[in-house]
């Protein structure tokens, strides 16, 4: 059934599907996992690091990119498509600053990216962008924001979300564990992001990249040593929990 309606982007199937857009969403699932958490005074982006070839410069394989000083995004899906979207977003951020003399709000730049993506689902001869993006940042009034876009051009605000390969598992973990206590402090929010990623990332901390933006501070990429320390803290907390449970059982 799909075969006759999925070759052109501008063709609806009789039951209302745009198959090319849905297939683009499958392309997103081929990218590694990215998770975004909105805390009270911090926003966190965590990604599963891709394994880099031996001779490849690790620095050039980044899933987290700054769009402006106060906004950054992580993507999952086709690398080349992401590069184009990021470049257009960066230009728009600066253009906005020059025109309106104000930095963009996170919602504005997300809407810009989403509109760009939607345009490519309605044009002849062009395919949709095969990426989903998690866009985080602070507005100039100090509110933290997290938005997610997908290849169809829709965008929504989230408290916490995940995209990419095992997004469903991570989202279920976040639904259970995203509570006000869990994001009470900056450190706790960062640890929640790491815990969410550890659900699906093999071999622990060395395969995780983390970026944070604190209010009125620029984007900060955590070093691998800091991540390892946090992972060790999390494992110790887990062990302590297990010990307490065992003691409770025996008494």
């Amino acid at each position: 059934m799909a075969a006759r309606y999925d070759r052109a982007i501008t063709v609806f199937s009789p039951d209302g599907h745009l198959f090319q857009v849905e297939y683009a969403q499958e392309a997103v699932k081929k990218g590694s996992t990215a998770v975004g958490i909105r805390g009270k005074d911090i926003v966190v982006l965590g990604v599963e690091k891709k394994s880099v070839a031996k001779l490849q410069e690790e620095r050039t394989v980044r899933k987290i990119c700054a769009l402006d000083e106060h906004v950054c995004m992580a993507f999952a899906g086709l690398t080349a498509d992401a590069r184009i979207v990021i470049n257009r977003a960066r230009v728009e951020c600066q253009s906005h600053r020059l025109t309106v003399e104000d930095p963009v709000t996170v919602e504005y730049i997300t809407r810009h990216i989403a509109t760009l993506k939607q345009r490519y689902t309605q044009s002849n001869g062009r395919r949709p962008f095969g990426i989903s993006a998690l866009i985080v940042g602070f507005d100039y009034d100090g509110t933290p924001r997290l938005y997610q876009t997908d290849p169809s051009g829709t965008y929504h605000a989230w408290k916490a979300n995940a995209i990419g390969r095992s997004a469903k598992t991570v989202r279920e973990f976040l639904e259970k564990n995203y509570t006000d206590e869990a994001i009470a402090t900056d450190n706790e929010a960062i640890k929640l992001a790491i815990k969410a990623l550890l659900e699906v990332v093999q071999s622990g901390g060395k395969n995780i990249d983390l970026a944070v933006i604190r209010r009125n501070q620029p984007l900060k990429l955590l070093e691998s040593k800091e991540i390892e320390t946090l992972v060790a803290e999390i494992e110790k907390e887990k062990e302590d929990e297990a010990e307490k449970k065992k003691q409770k059982k025996s008494t």
């Binding site: 070839a53 690398t79 469903k168």
Partner: protein, 285 residues
């Protein structure tokens, strides 16, 4: 035929076969057809011991109780990793053929380069009635019948039971339900009516069909009432991949009754058989 202007033209009638004219062209056509047929012929080459035992048996057939065929790189990789790496298998033959996609090597020796598409036979040293065939080369539709006839023509039909493992892209799998990412890769099975074994995974649902070598083998087994079971693995990865290979593990249960298998395999061994193509790993981030 008389034309409007009164001249007479000799016109060839299609109702009558003209035997005299164009004889040379026909000969040439026939010759070309013959050459193409010869080029596309399927040849089986056995090693000297097997060729000898074929000659010694009166009917020119090998004693074979179990034939396991792997079609596709992931199925072949699974057998290489779990079954064929226990040093007790001998390479006993190969099938060489030519088609547009499979320009078979002109090398007649059995030792083909690893990774090259080929069709190889292996026999177990302690249990010589168990034959394994790994087919990673493309066999054209017109060659499938020849392949099946020639291979099964060398095997004793009585007591033979066949298992086929085959790869397929999940894009070919037709289902009304949405396939979540976690469901892929998965196995589906198909049996010939002579087969009494319990299938270890759900049967292939309609309207899905098999094509190519697995279909030819299963059809042959159905026609000749040979018990055969086929496991088709649907996967979303193009290249050989360790997770897809692990999906065939339920087949190990049947295989372990026949031959001694490697008890448990580390991921490194599997990775050796899986090829990570560079282009694929940089396409998606």
């Amino acid at each position: 035929m008389a034309t409007f202007f009164g001249e007479v033209l000799s016109v060839y009638s299609r109702a009558v076969e003209e035997d005299d004219d164009d004889l040379d062209d026909e000969n040439e056509d026939e010759q070309i057809h013959r050459e193409i047929e010869e080029k596309r012929e399927v040849h089986i080459a056995w090693c000297p011991e097997v060729a000898q035992s074929l000659e010694d048996s009166g009917s020119n057939k090998l004693q074979c109780s179990d034939l396991i065929i792997a079609v596709g790189t992931n199925a072949a990789g699974f057998l290489s990793a779990y079954v064929l790496n226990t040093e007790s298998w001998d390479a006993v033959g190969h099938v060489s053929l030519w088609n547009e996609r499979s320009r078979g090597s002109s090398r007649q020796s059995i030792a083909l380069l690893p990774g090259e598409p080929a069709c190889l036979f292996y026999r177990h040293r302690d249990n010589p009635a168990v034959l394994v065939c790994q087919s990673t080369c493309y066999i054209a539709e017109d060659q499938l019948f020849q392949w099946t006839e020639k291979v099964f023509g060398c095997l004793q039909k009585r007591g033979l039971s066949v298992m086929v493992l085959s790869d397929s892209p999940v894009a070919e799998y037709k289902t009304p339900d949405y396939l979540y990412g976690s469901a892929v890769p998965f196995l589906r099975s198909l049996k010939s009516s002579a087969s009494e074994s319990q299938a270890l995974c759900p049967a292939l649902e309609q309207p899905n069909i098999l094509t190519g070598l697995p279909a030819a083998v299963l059809s042959h087994c159905q026609v000749h009432q040979i018990p055969a079971v086929l496991y088709q693995c649907y996967t979303d990865v193009i290249s050989p991949d360790s997770i897809t290979m692990e999906t065939y593990k339920p087949a190990l249960l049947c295989l372990s009754k026949l031959v001694k298998l490697e008890p448990c395999l580390s991921a490194d061994v599997l990775r050796k058989f899986a090829i990570i193509t560079e282009a694929q790993s940089n396409l998606y981030t």
